[in-house]
Symmetry: C2
Subunit: 243 residues, 2 copies
């Protein structure tokens, strides 16, 4: 019996999403610097859920409505006006975030998440939860699209490198006929498959965030498996899968 | 005196072209399998010019109007109905193509070429003219956008690998702050910087064209510097630069 393997593809930018069939698939939203890293950290540290929203105004409005909520988000590397906290994964230790609802506004990651309409399941991925995301995808038995949030629709290195790390680990369980997946995997291999931050230091995003003094954040985001939870979208909320 | 270097960027798909400022720049159209390879071969072998057109009907019409012309183009790996020849670079030896006008219809490459509106200059690139294209770009002193034709807007490996080969050779003469350029260069390094066809054998396009028995064409297209001319767009015609 030759069981057909599910499909594994990589979408390098939200501007290319329309080229992929996400119906019935698991879509992994990837925004390594820093939205999906912060989401993994907050949920692993006990946040009740994370609500990703696009606009600062919506973030403020939800924060006023939801008890025990934290509003967070940055614009140009600073806490956005009217919000309480930033977009740094290290800002959300257990003693602060446990039991709370984190209302998080980010630009690229949230936009992509809201663009996916007909997937079976939407989860978020980052180096912080690399292994559990891979296990989840293998166990799902479904077609998978790894969706890079990119930067204002521009290809970025960090999201693609993470996609490559996933492809490299799970490809034998899937049918891969996608040049983006092959290229992401080649990038991963070129990076040496470890010490991701070294490879990412030349990226545009690393340079941009470094100008805001956020090198520590990026080192944090490049640490594999520090926050081993799978954030899964239920309605408007990201919650820990299996909990 | 600290002279500012011109910008070097890579656009991975026509669907991302709007993200780049091509005004005053040199844009290199890249469609390795096989449009820009065939263009280099035909012009190096003495064709008067190559006229790239999008539609088969337009190709036929121009062929009827222009003396000493050849109409060529494929759909699904076969010579398109109503045209005389295919899209194989090996089909255009000097004894056949010398002095002729090649009216060539291709899908991805031609489309991208016609999408670029405000560039200073449009040239075409392929492994067959890699070194002369690199020399041209260095000497131009202008901003450069390497534009991958891709496959129906999907990222492809062969065009990106060629872009990476160019980035690798010319980057020291440019300011490179573009993750696509970094990734293309990393792919090039991952390929070992030679024996391109070995690296490309797993690509979607190689597999698709192999099903049509076109492996020989692809080996040909992956041979560096076999046809050292720079095709440059003058009006609707691609001609040899400097001639």
């Amino acid at each position: 019996m030759n069981k057909e393997l599910p499909r594994l593809e990589v979408c390098l930018s939200p501007a290319l999403l329309h080229l992929y069939d996400t119906k019935g698939a698991v879509v992994v939203i990837i925004d390594v610097f820093r939205a999906t890293s912060t989401i993994a950290a907050a949920l692993h540290n006990g946040a009740k859920c994370v609500i990703p929203v696009a606009a600062v105004a919506e973030c403020i409005e939800l924060g006023q409505r939801i008890p025990d909520s934290i509003t967070a988000g940055e614009r140009d590397g600073k806490v956005a006006e009217g919000l309480q906290y930033g977009n740094s994964p290290a800002e959300y230790p257990a003693e602060f975030v446990k039991g709370k609802t984190l209302v998080l506004t980010t630009t690229n990651g949230t936009r992509l998440l809201h663009m996916v309409k007909d997937a079976d399941t939407i989860i978020t991925g980052s180096f912080l939860n690399l292994s559990v995301v891979c296990d989840y995808l293998i166990n799902s038995g479904k077609n998978v699209l790894l969706g890079c949030a990119a930067w204002k629709d521009r290809f970025n290195l960090e999201d693609t490198l993470f996609a490559g790390a996933v492809v490299n680990r799970i490809q034998e369980h899937f049918s891969v006929n996608c040049d983006s997946a092959r290229a992401a995997n080649a990038l991963y291999k070129q990076s040496g498959g470890k010490d991701f931050i070294h490879f990412l230091r030349d990226s545009s995003h690393y340079r941009r965030l470094s100008a805001y003094g956020l090198q520590g954040d990026m080192e944090y985001c490049a640490t594999p498996d520090l926050h081993p939870v799978v954030p899964v979208l239920r309605g408007a909320e990201l919650v820990v899968y299996g909990k």
